[in-house]
């Protein structure tokens, strides 16, 4: 008993679809593997630090009190930037960072959802009230970069941005308290 042409067609159709699905599956698996590989080896991850903070009191004391904002170099050499995103400015409005050195950037919001990116880099994070946003990176090129607020936060959103000065090692000089401010231009 032989297959009718009808049935021969149908099994062939299913076979071609399975073949295509197999190829598609390989593509999906390959992309995922690359993502996993680079996450593990090159440390390419989305922001992953989950840390809570009270938006109503963060400006009063602790890490995000006004006197602690900006760039600080600690005794062991780590560079930490702290900034607040609020309606409608970043505090401080100019941030100095060193080139070719690991920098940790930490942000918090006392009011609504903001977000930021730094042009020409992969620094990109949402700033959600209730949580500290943290990004580690290394700036590879010197110069002035734009750091806008990229999430709608109200009527003044379009005017909300900061400048990031990436300073070469000879210009990045911490003061006695470890603080570094933007160079006067």
């Amino acid at each position: 008993m032989s297959d009718t042409p009808h049935e021969v067609h149908e099994s062939r159709i299913l076979r071609t679809e399975l073949l295509w699905a197999f190829g598609v599956g390989i593509f999906v698996a390959a992309s995922l593997s690359m993502i996993v590989f680079t996450a593990l080896t090159l440390n390419v991850n989305p922001p992953s630090n989950v840390e809570r903070i009270d938006p109503k009191t963060l400006h009063l004391s602790g890490e995000f009190a006004e006197q602690n904002l900006g760039t600080t170099v600690f005794g062991d050499g780590t560079v930490i930037v702290r900034a607040i995103a609020t309606q409608f400015m970043f505090v401080p409005q100019c941030i100095a960072v060193p080139a070719n050195r690991r920098v940790t950037l930490r942000f918090a919001s006392p009011d609504v959802i903001h977000g930021l990116l730094i042009t020409g880099t992969n620094v990109n994070t949402m700033v959600v009230p209730g949580f500290v946003a943290q990004v580690h990176t290394e700036f590879t090129r010197t110069g002035d970069l734009l750091m806008p607020c990229h999430e709608f936060c109200g009527q003044g959103h379009s005017e909300m941005w900061a400048t990031v000065q990436v300073l070469p090692v000879d210009l990045f000089k911490p003061g006695p308290d470890g603080r570094v401010s933007c160079a006067k231009r």
């Binding site: 062939r12 390959a30 992309s31 690359m34 880099t121 990176t137």
Partner: protein, 65 residues
């Protein structure tokens, strides 16, 4: 719309179309070769574009985590 005109809902469930079964059988000997090549080439281009952006734009902008 006039009441004596046929309504959209009057169309039958599976009405035969103009496709001739013999012609279909003959055409089905080649299909889906063209589709496989066209769709396959498109997906290959997408994969290539993905890899290019990843290596030439994203990674040079610095590790981030």
């Amino acid at each position: 719309m006039q009441s004596d005109e046929s309504s959209a809902a009057d169309s039958k469930l599976e009405v035969a179309d103009e496709v001739d079964e013999t012609a279909l059988a003959s055409v089905m000997r080649t299909v889906p070769l063209g589709a496989a090549v066209l769709a396959g080439a498109t997906v290959a281009l997408l994969v290539l574009g993905y890899l290019l952006i990843y290596t030439l734009v994203f990674i040079p902008r610095g590790t981030v985590g």
